[in-house]
């Protein structure tokens, strides 16, 4: 019998907390816990129809396949599965990665790849490798909040570039780089999700991709291309990745198995120029020595015996229907003052409401009707995005999508009406922008709906209010 475990220590007193508080690093000061975050936790209740997550539909993976894969690993490579592995990852896993990248017309030297614990670790490692406190990172606005958190944890200064339906405004990027250069600031890298962006749902056009790669070369600027959704394409032709356009000189590439197989395995990868990769490898050694060997062997077993592409096709079929359902529901239930992106792939729609609606407050109201989304505020670091929301369409059934969007539409209409009453006028129709929705089918009336992404202009910039 093992001895009785010691009694757990008593909960902290205030004095203890103060003692610990004195030990916290300066970078943890940006890791805040907010009322809005507590609000988000409310969306976990089972009765809530939540469009808040970014969850792939793992229930569509056949459990008997998973059982066979795990059994095979247990029989054939038990000791190895339970052992440490090389920091850079198993060669078998890297071959699977080459396979996935080839599906998007990329060829990669396996020596240039490090297998990571999810794509999120790439964000952490690249930032750790390149960023000193106060260094500048250029990102899209809106950006993936998980990336912004990683950047902030290393005390980076993040500059966000406006987007439209063709992705990041590369012309504005160049203006910004000029301005920063004038201020003596040389950004360390540009972070972008060019395909089916999270949270914007838009895709960078080919001319902009070409220009971005040129800009990177002209200015000797690194680009981190985050591409979790590229294979989840529901229409149109694939655009070449920045990595393939650049050949891996200035573009670092982040890939993941999370959206094409399983986020639970926590398997991603980074491709980077060798000198950068060497540093990332050292950083990974310090962080976790190596990525889970068991997870890597599972991917290998899966790729060897099963047609991973047909599973992606299955997912693509499911998500396409769900996207179409959500777009149709938005058109039916959202008031004319609302606008949203029409993603050609990925998991998210970005909807923007009139300026007078704060989506953080709207979420509180929506939760009373048991429906949730992500307020747009977290996708910006400068107070923008307060009248936008991110809607995930991959994680809910079509019935629940229809019902959930109906409920959000009702509360939005309620607030639009109330505002009209308060101001004594029906709110004006928003001006139409020139940007046409991503991958919009020509002549389709619905696709003529334009994208409204928050601008930095005077009109849309809102002071950080209480």
């Amino acid at each position: 019998m093992s001895p009785q475990p010691p009694k757990p220590p008593e909960r902290s007193t205030r004095r203890d907390l103060e003692r610990y508080a004195g030990l916290f690093s300066a970078r943890t000061r940006v890791m805040t816990s907010s009322a809005t975050r507590d609000l988000m936790a409310m969306s976990d209740r089972p009765e809530v129809i939540s469009f808040a997550g970014g969850l792939p539909d793992t229930s569509s993976f056949p459990s008997e396949k998973f059982a066979a894969m795990t059994a095979r690993i247990a029989e054939e490579s038990c000791a190895r599965a339970l052992q440490y592995g090389p920091t850079e990852g198993l060669p078998e896993t890297k071959r699977c990665i080459a396979d996935v990248m080839a599906a998007e017309e990329m060829s990669v030297d396996l020596d240039d790849v490090i297998v990571t614990t999810g794509g999120q670790q790439v964000l952490d490692l690249v930032t750790k490798t390149l960023i000193d406190p106060g260094d500048t990172i250029v990102a899209e606005g809106p950006s993936y909040p998980g990336a912004l958190n990683a950047f902030q944890a290393y005390q980076a200064n993040v500059v966000q570039i406006d987007m439209d339906a063709d992705g990041m405004r590369v012309d504005m990027l160049e203006e910004t780089l000029d301005r920063l250069e004038g201020e003596g600031v040389r950004p360390k890298f540009v972070y972008t999700v060019p395909s089916f962006q999270n949270p914007g749902g838009v895709t960078m056009s080919l001319p902009r991709r070409r220009r971005l790669v040129e800009v990177a070369r002209e200015r000797e600027l690194l680009v981190l291309e985050d591409n979790p959704y590229g294979l989840l394409r529901y229409e149109g032709d694939p655009a070449p990745t920045l990595y393939s356009l650049d050949g891996g000189v200035y573009v670092m590439y982040l890939g993941t198995f999370s959206k094409i197989f399983s986020p639970g395995l926590r398997l991603g990868w980074v491709v980077a120029p060798p000198p950068v990769l060497t540093r990332i490898n050292l950083g990974k050694q310090q962080a976790d020595l190596c990525t889970s060997t068991l997870s890597q062997l599972l991917v290998q077993a899966y790729f060897e015996r099963h047609d991973w592409r047909s599973y992606v096709d299955t997912l693509t079929g499911i998500y396409r229907s769900r996207r179409d359902t959500m777009l149709a529901a938005l058109a039916e239930h959202f008031p004319p003052q609302a606008e949203w992106t029409r993603p050609g792939g990925g998991l998210f729609i970005w909807a923007t409401l009139p300026e007078f609606i704060d989506t953080g407050d709207l979420l509180a109201r929506a939760l009373r009707d048991d429906v949730a989304f992500v307020p747009g505020e977290g996708a910006f670091l400068d107070g923008r995005g307060r009248n936008s929301m991110r809607l995930n369409f991959s994680g809910a059934s079509e019935d629940r999508i229809r019902e959930g969007i109906r409920r959000i539409g009702e509360v939005v209409k309620e607030q639009v009406d109330l505002y009209g009453t308060l101001t004594g006028q029906a709110p004006a129709q928003p001006p139409r922008h020139d940007a046409v929705a991503d991958a919009a089918a020509e002549g389709d009336a619905e696709s003529a709906r334009v994208v409204e992404l928050p601008r930095r202009s005077d009109g849309s910039r809102r002071a950080r209010r209480s």
Partner: protein, 317 residues
């Protein structure tokens, strides 16, 4: 030793804080030797209370249902003694508009205000009265939902153009909202605790935004953005007056056991009561436990005293 049901969670917007408060109370009760039954207040609350047959319920819920008298009403029906204020005090305190009317009648200073429900705007044309309100209150105006306990939905309107969207935001939380004169000054909290000789005001806690800058309601609820100073270093007599106002508020609302009263101290030294919280937070960073500790009452003793007050009320009824 007693069998204590700790009620926490629920479906209010302050669920997360409540779960933290509840967990901490449970630990303290166990250390005090009580038998603890943890209950996340959901649709089976009444059934669970009937099945578990606790001697007493410790209500560690914040916001809707837990702090507005709903759960207290159920406990009355079930005949289970419970901690904290009774139904009438909860009803009064959760409604900031009612609270402010009662305070004004009692001569307790509170910032001037106007309150409306949505019907006033939708059916009675109250929007036409907004310019007059704005003139009377002067900008900036604070717009807040009448019943929300945390910072959620509280907005500053700096100009007339901000008012409609601030109202829309506040109406996200409640059908009734108030527009209140903004008191520029120091943000104070006085907790009141049941004692042998009646309620006692604890040392004053001041919320100070980190790094100065513009006051931001949200900051108070974000770890790391606000520092709490206890006892607050206040001008002569201000501490005593703040404590006296807190006690008067507590008594006027009919609170029992414990409560936290939030006040503002303006630049000319005048104090104003903003609101009362019948079940303030009991987490590691909450203000009532900090104030109690400053008064020499550690967390376990605080929980024990709150529990004793529940039994004391039950025996006098």
């Amino acid at each position: 030793m007693s069998r204590v049901a700790v009620l926490a969670g629920g479906s209010s917007l302050e669920r997360q804080v409540s779960l933290r408060s509840g967990a901490r109370v449970e630990d303290a009760l166990e250390r005090l030797g009580h038998e603890v039954v943890a209950i996340d207040a959901g649709t089976d609350l009444v059934r669970r209370l009937r099945d578990e047959r606790p001697d007493v319920a410790f209500v560690a819920m914040h916001g809707r249902d837990g702090e507005d008298g709903t759960v207290q009403e159920l406990l009355e029906i079930l005949g289970i003694p419970y901690t904290g204020s009774g139904v009438p005090a909860c009803v009064r305190a959760m409604d900031k508009v009612l609270t402010k009317h009662l305070l004004m009648e009692a001569g307790v200073p509170t910032p001037s205000f106007f309150a409306f429900n949505q019907t006033a705007f939708r059916a009675l044309g109250a929007a036409d009265a907004l310019p007059a309100i704005e003139e009377r209150l002067e900008f900036p105006i604070v717009v807040k939902p009448s019943s929300q306990g945390s910072a959620l939905g509280i907005k500053f309107a700096r100009t007339a153009a901000d008012v409609p969207s601030a109202l829309v935001a506040a109406f996200s939380y409640d059908a009734k909202v108030l527009l209140e004169r903004h008191v520029r000054g120091r943000d104070l909290a006085v907790s009141v605790l049941h004692g042998d000789g009646g309620p006692v005001a604890l040392p004053v806690v001041e919320a100070v935004p980190v790094g100065g800058g513009e006051y931001d309601f949200q900051a108070r609820y974000e770890i790391g953005r606000t520092e709490f100073v206890c006892p607050a270093d206040l001008p002569d007599g201000a501490t005593e007056r703040a404590q006296e106002l807190a006690l008067r508020t507590y008594e006027r609302l009919g609170c029992y056991g414990f409560a936290r009263i939030d006040l503002m101290l303006d630049e000319s030294g005048d104090l104003f009561v903003l609101e009362a919280n019948p079940i303030p937070g009991l987490t590691e960073t909450s203000l009532l436990p900090q104030a109690a500790e400053e008064a020499g009452v550690d967390f376990d003793e605080l929980v024990g005293r709150i529990l004793d007050s529940a039994f004391a009320r039950a025996t006098t009824q």
